[in-house]
């Protein structure tokens, strides 16, 4: 759960304005929550303090499929309509020590499920997944499907570190 002391910040829905802009424009109307066909968007709980009532995505529970319906419905411009490739939610980070494909088991679930396959995640000559950070928008599908325990791919939300 997101909290005040969570320095990494929240994974915002696709097309979110930068953090300060989002916090100043979001009126917590929950239209994005309702329009999301995957129930991926949730609203910050009270423990999220400033981000209370503002939209975020927990990719482990339900990642963003980049259908881009939420920015269309946002009335205040807290989410701005953009192309899926420009969603800029965050970036996937792959931990090669944990990843099955780097440890003798062919898996590549992340590559198979990535909505921006062959752009954001590619397979190298050894059929091991590589995240292309410039193309990855951080939708979180890879983290959602990763079978390793603990997960070997996680999403770093854009903005704060």
């Amino acid at each position: 759960m997101p909290g005040f002391f969570d320095r990494r910040g929240l994974l915002r829905p696709p097309g979110a304005a930068d953090e300060a802009e989002l916090l100043s424009t979001c009126i917590k109307c929950a239209r994005c929550v309702e329009v999301c066909p995957f129930q991926a968007i949730r609203l910050g709980p009270i423990t999220a303090w400033r981000s209370y009532g503002t939209p975020f995505i927990d990719p482990i529970a339900s990642p963003c499929r980049l259908c881009m319906r939420c920015p269309e419905i946002c009335p205040t411009g807290a989410l701005i309509p953009v192309a899926a490739e420009a969603a800029a939610m965050g970036t996937a980070r792959l931990d090669r020590d944990r990843c099955y494909s780097y440890n003798g088991i062919v898996c590549n679930q992340c590559h198979r499920e990535c909505p921006l396959r062959e752009a954001a995640i590619v397979l190298d000559e050894l059929l091991q997944p590589v995240v292309i950070e410039q193309a990855c928008v951080g939708c979180g599908v890879c983290a959602h499907v990763c079978p390793s325990e603990p997960r070997s791919i996680e999403i770093k939300p854009r903005g704060r570190r």
């Binding site: 009126i27 929550v33 329009v35 129930q39 205040t76």
Partner: protein, 299 residues
Amino acid sequence: MSRAAITRRASQLGILGLLLAMPILGAAKIEFLRGTLCSLGTDSLYLSCPLGVLQTTLASRSFDPGLWASAAAFLLLAFIAGRVFCSHLCPQGLLSELNDRLRRIGRRRRGGPEARDASEAGPGALARVAGLTLAALERRRERPDSPRRRRVGQRLLYGTLALGLLASFAIGVPIFCYVCPIGILSRALVEATTFGQLGGELAVIFVILIVELTAARRGWCKYICPVGALYGICSTKHTRHLERDAEACSGCRTCERECSMGNSPIQEAVGRTCTNCGDCIETCPEGALALVQLRRKRQ
């Protein structure tokens, strides 16, 4: 109940039903209206809360004409029909009213101020004292606000609004949206039907209801709520308002007791806290009260 009263309840409950139905219909892939009372409508056509819009305009220091157009409908409604948002749409208003009814049921059990004979308060002496105290409190609470209380109340109401807007501008977030019971209740309905869970922010609602039940009758709506305050500002002399027919009025003061917002139609002391709910019209035995659009000419 009169037709107006039935319409009002139907409207209040209809909004709750709509908020509950939207996520369910959405899950069944039926495209319908989306949103909450903060912003409600289809993808391109929607209504937005004017206070939310005003706050984000100040917080982000940018003017969005489309957004303001979506807020215009509620402002126009307030300009024409008064604070009907409070009496017909606001879910907190509905809870607040039912809360007030709860108090009234308590009064009836104790015999009520009408039958305030000590023998009816209960068998034991302690129960009698308690009953009398409660009855006295009830009577005090059913009085309309005194001119002083009204004045202080108005200052508090518009002070809260001004402070909230100033803080939104200074801090850069729509500050009132964080505690707005209308938003909290709307979102709770959406989140409950979508995810099956409720958040801790509902405590705000309970605190408001408890204070309104014990300390200040409809205190939030009367003295604090900036949404209501904003709608109150919209009313002018052309706005639909309550008028009393002095010749028909018998001076029984039933309307005073009925008004949960502390107004006194009989003393012609109906301020901007009046939500045009029509409860006083309903309760008047002489039919001396009416909502009128244009001010009657006085002789």
